[in-house]
Assembly symmetry: D2
Homo-oligomer: 334 residues x 4
């Protein structure tokens, strides 16, 4: 067996930290080498003694380490484009969190940089590795529901701090983007037009930067199917995601209502504990996507989902945002 793949991670925020934990033992053939975090964060981690790996101050330092064979980019969304460009210039295989950039133009630039460098690239749409979504995809590909005719996706999550949302790109870029990608993954079809509407009911300050906390996006697919995505920063009963694909011969539903396989009945009746966080709901998927990336890079195969998926999801998120603001149908990428 070849040497383990040395991984450098950029950013140790919520999802970066989760990836780092995985890379410390859970991913076969991989080895966490170091992480680049900004100086303040580095200070705090060193003081706490909880750093999961050696820390360096920036991406350049990380890329300069000879043991770093590939990078996981989990920095804030607004820095994805720059960090992808740097890693591409250094010729390192990239696993990047979504979105690939914070604008369509930036996404195209990032994609061009990766293509020019000819390096393996994977985007962090972890639902593609979730057992429920994979099973749904397998059934659809096998023809179990006939021709795809309608899609529905929904994602409800707890609202992050307003300051995070201020630079997140908005509900569609940050949250619904997962459903846009799931729609493409599950149907095997392409979204060609979107129409969106939004509301602010959870956090009034979102109006300061024209964002929303509830959104509904109607989709038109290339082959004639329709779809709808619902997203909200509201999850009082725990993180909640579902997808439903209707076809000419049946329907597939990907949903995981029960957090645990054993059921508790007590004085309240049957009680099913809530999913607390996406990292918990998708624990298997997060591990599987990193494993898939590592396996592909080591085997010289192209990882997936790749650049096209990363780019398209950003185009759809952008189109949904514009549609909501302009009250009209918008064609992604046009």
């Amino acid at each position: 067996m070849a040497e383990p793949l040395g991984i450098g991670i950029v950013g140790l925020g919520r999802i970066g930290w989760h990836h780092a934990e995985q890379l410390r033992g859970g991913i076969a053939g991989a080895r966490l080498v170091a992480a680049a975090v900004d100086p303040d964060h580095r200070q705090r981690l060193l003081a706490s003694g909880e750093a999961p790996c050696p820390l360096v101050e920036d991406v350049a330092a990380l890329l300069a380490l000879p043991e770093v064979d590939a990078v996981v980019i989990a920095s804030p969304s607004s820095l994805h484009e720059a960090h992808i460009a740097e890693a591409a210039a250094a010729g390192k295989p990239i696993f990047a969190e979504k979105p690939i950039a914070d604008s369509v133009a930036g996404a195209r630039r990032a994609a061009a940089a990766v293509r020019a460098a000819g390096i393996p690239f994977q985007i962090g749409f972890q639902r593609r590795f979730d057992p429920a979504y994979r099973r749904a995809r397998d059934l659809i590909e096998a023809g179990a529901i006939g021709e795809v005719e309608m899609f529905r996706g929904i994602t409800c999550d707890v609202i992050p701090p307003v300051d995070f949302l201020r630079t997140s790109g908005g509900l569609f870029w940050d949250l619904a983007i997962h459903d846009f990608d799931a729609a493409r993954f599950l149907t095997g079809d392409e979204i060609v037009a979107v129409h969106a509407v939004g509301a602010v009911v959870v956090e009034p300050r979102l109006t300061e930067f024209d964002d929303i906390d509830y959104g509904i996006v109607t989709l038109r697919f290339r082959d004639g199917a329709l779809g709808v995505c619902q997203a909200s920063w509201r999850a009082p009963y725990g993180y909640d995601i579902r997808a439903e694909v209707h076809g000419s011969r049946g329907k597939v539903v990907a949903e995981v209502d029960e957090k645990f396989p054993a059921r508790l009945y007590d004085e309240r009746g049957l009680v099913s504990a809530r999913h607390d966080r996406f990292t918990e709901r998708f624990a298997d998927a997060y591990r599987a996507e990193l494993q898939a990336f590592v396996d592909a890079v080591r085997a010289g195969r192209a990882p997936s989902p790749g650049l096209d998926d990363a780019l398209r999801a950003v185009e759809i998120s952008d189109a949904a945002t514009r549609s909501r603001r302009e009250g009209r149908w918008v064609e992604p990428g046009a």
Copy 2:
């Protein structure tokens, strides 16, 4: 106890027949007197010996029977307005199938006629009597999910013959109208704007009269909530309806996946038989709505859902149809 209420029924088609069956024993305090059916149908029923009650040739003859204390109108949608007007003129309490008329103007005329006559009126939105929808409504009214923030309804049914659809008013008037009413019933809120899209994938001949077999309608509610209704003439796995209401503190889902309370496991695994028809899925609700009508009339109470609900559902159906054709937001009733 007072005498049973003598009921005359107008029309013995699919739903009229179902009501007639209920009225022959299943509804306490009611008695099926006679039915008005057109001469051809009457001929066939008399020949078959299967008529559930004495038959008369038209609504006038039915209303002239002294034993007829109230009428159930289950004629084709295009005749509802005229039949309601006749019954109102005769001063008979009316239970009418939806839609109250086949145009907004007609609906207003029918409502005016009923109001002028001062008679009890109930519209056949049977979901309001379904145990799942009622339970959902009860929970929401009791504050179990806090403030209502998002609605989702879906109805999938087997496509009727094209000739029926030609005069049905279209997917939104005929099918989604139930979800529009359910949205109002469950949320306790009012729909103030709709945006609709449609597709033809099941029956190409629908394009001949600008109808669709898949439709998605985005809703805006008066108090700020959003919603979406999905409807289709496609039910390969059986009649399928669901409603979901998200609130600030929880979510309620009305769905009945399993047709039978006992589960069968065989060589296929766990198998849950499909709901075949709406008359089967809503058997309890159809009985309960007639019982509620009979009880209200006998007790001198106003039945519910009434004229306003009947009228509003038609306005929303009309708005959705126009929105789809014009590609823009439409305000129902405006």
Copy 3:
């Protein structure tokens, strides 16, 4: 249509009251005439103004009323035999709560009295009218699981007052008897030997009269199948009953986990309200069994379940009780 059947009810305890409520409107073709209750109870009911019907002092007075066409016997178990004998002597059709008597000998005497009188008789095993149990029975009769090979039934209920239990005949006579009958009903087979064990963990005073609050009974069926019944006076999460029949080609499970067809998700996750009482869990079944009795009597048909079912259940309950005390296999009826 013939005149309604005039019903006299014996006893207005928990289940008698429930039947009386049903008979006041819920049962087509039936009319509640009067109830026989002991003088104290009569006094209290008259004082409270809540009596559901005219009251008489004893069964003789009830049977003497000319409007009483049939009786529902819901007196304490220890009086069933005497009340059945009186009603039989008066030639009145009988619906009797289980058990038919409080001893096997008494049950045989009661059965002989009914047979001698040649009157219709139905025993109150309401599970035979529950939608879940009926569906399970239908599937099994239709061959959906092949040959029956194993049965499992379980009943958990809240413990009644010790003073009630003192004269109830014990856990098997009072509670497990329903599962013994369900075993016979669902399998279509006969129980030929039982082996029982019990424990006292809920109410220590049960040891004073050699009763138990947890019991497990192993069953042997005539055609070779095995079975097990579990029963307990412990229902912290609500009244709980289930039945499971394994066959050569599949399995049927009758269970109703969710009290309501709509699901609530709140800060606890998915929450399914508990069934509080058997009258609530079996509301439909209690209505259906009375309706079936009324329909059979009015149509001159023999009602079901009848004398043989009533007698056999008592024989099995007795055998289980003896088996537990003697620690050996016992053949019911032997």
Copy 4:
């Protein structure tokens, strides 16, 4: 990190092969060194080119390999005792499939040999590593159901070839043993008496060696709780296991009805694919138990479940077998 633990495996039958597959990459810190298989089997594997690792002819040869740090014993049940003794004599940590031996006396000898050698030992009760059983155990330990009062376990599997069964020790030794262990694991209590009954309905040839294909075992626990285990060589709807623990304040049910997290609805209604084999149902558990063994050995901790659990399960299986044959209560280990 220390060197990977070199594992030698004894036997490459159904479960041995499954373990070997896991050890080739799925278990961190472990390395599959070689397998001992009998000469015929070795010949076939070499011919097919499918051997998962180097093959040796017997346990002695395997134990002689310097790279073998520990052994996994997956030989036929009748050889477990001898193979455990050999490995113990060689001082190698042992992971053994259940049962630890094919007689209570043999089990005691095997246990004595292991204890004398002072080596780590783990028995293959993989349900203890299944997410459903673990969650149930966690809830019970945390007091979620109060005091344990009743247990129920059921295992239904496809019947193996008669020739395999001839030496398997019978239904209780081979199949119900998992439920006996699960009963101890979940309740945290000890089984002190059993009463068993059996039937032959699937395979008449079982009577040739006094075995059964359906069995029901009633359990008495030390602290007063009751229990029942059902087992059968009949699984027409797929491999089926469930456990249910009733307590003074609630109930926990460990069952996994749906094989896949995504649901398919087609012309049959809702269809849930069956679990085909125990290796599939317990894929995660089989991996987890090996991982736990490897981790414990490398860390110098005692693995679990260990010798006492292995021995007690055999004593209970033996008691159940004797109880069935003798028709009386038997105390395990007495």
